[in-house]
Amino acid sequence: MTAKRELLDLLLENARYSTEDLARMTDLSEEEVVSTIETLESEGIIRGYQAVVDWHRVKEEHIRAEVELNVTLDRETGYDDIAERLGRFPEVTTLQLVSGDYDFHLEVEGDSLQEVSNFISEKVAPTPEITQTVTHYVMETYKDRGIEFEDGHGDDRLSISP
């Protein structure tokens, strides 16, 4: 496995591993870890680092909606044009062109149901190329970006075994 791939795997597992630990867990020196990550960042392979938050445990309202969008294209407007327009809104946290029954998949986040629904009805739906929106409000998150939200079952192995 290349150094880049190895580091990507480790950072996907935990982006807060220290440089020292990343070096220990690979065959790389600390300097190589730093420079490889810098390369990954400058090449745009690593686009950022974020915490995975269980909003239920934060004592404030946080709303997430999954939105399906259908669009019609014309000679002047392609998928990229629509994506560029929608992607500028900070409320849109994820924007993907997908295969299947609809064209775009959006994740929209906000501090209240009102805010999110207003955003979709006032900013997204009126866009001329958008023919249909279906909004799904997230009710419960069990797993996000590979991280399970239930409390772990703990380690039930014997503490010492042969």
């Binding site: 496995m1 795997d9 480790l10 597992e13 935990n14 630990d21 070096a23 220990r24 867990m25 690979t26 065959d27 380690d155 192995r157 014997l158 503490s159 010492i160 075994s161 042969p162």
Partner: protein
Amino acid sequence: MKPSERVQRVPPSGIRKFFELAEEKEDVISLGVGEPDFSAPWAARDAAIDSLERGKTSYTANRGKADLREAIADHVAERYDLQYDPDDEVLVTTGVSEGVDVAMRALVDPGDAVAVPQPSYISYAPSVIFADGDPLPVPTREADEFKLTYERLAESGAADAEALIFCYPNNPTGAVMTESELEPVAEFVREHDLTVFADEIYAELTYGHDHTSIATLPGMRERTVVFNGFSKAYAMTGLRLGYALAPPEATAAMNRIHQYSMLSAPTTAQHAAVEALRTCDDAVAEMVATYDRRRKLVLSRFDEMGIDCFEAKGAFYVFPEAPGGDAEAFAEDLLEAQGVAVVPGDAFGEGGEGHLRVSYATGTKDLKEAMDRIEAFL
């Protein structure tokens, strides 16, 4: 009732005392566990559940389900270049432990000496004794990275033994043996006409190289019983499933005992195992990659702390020297002061004294914490 003499010949397990000490304490991070910290791949668990839902709860053929034996034969051919006929050279057992037990009873006569390299997994010598054989310890040395050598076998008197049982990648040392290192061992075995019991349960857990089975060396297949199973690679320890590979007459002899003592290995586990072999290669590769990172983490940390440790390249153990030399005292004090459990090496026989078995089959976060605590303890 008086226990039989053969039971009295077997001392209680040396890890028992440590287990009791560790169980008494709160907030212990245990690096003393000899099994994966992962659960079995979901596809394998799902296959087990599905088999139960379909009511597949009866016995299987004594030797194991035919499709499982075929899948095993295909797997070992592809992975280790081992060719065995699924009909009469594969026996599905209740873990390698049962496999070793029936092999000893089927192929060792009373009074036969069986060479047992030390340190080693704790079941071998007792299995020999339960078969009324005599275990012959063959100490391995740190200078040889705990590999078995022609010289160690000769010095220990293994020339007069009838059989040799060993395990590489090794529990407790993490030592491995490459093809060129196995060759002199095979030479010794052929010269002195020994039967070989090769426990290869950790074969998938090698780092930086592929496992070689001694049975693939010239003249070895006909005198070797290979043991492997699902416990370590597929994290299925509790499902209790292994297998023995051997020429037809040896397999028939083992099956003679197995059919009366076990009847058949657990049916639910056999369903899980078929699925594991069919679809879980990626899950295994992911676990192996994770073990390797933790192995490097632990070896680096020990090196930085000044703890001497050879570079173990297999299983999920490293076997450092105990600082101060007294492994038992070190392990007890470490447990008491910092709540980190490791196992003193002498629990695994001669040659293990002065060392500690440290398992990295523990979540990376806990492993890091344990390393910090060991560093604080020094």
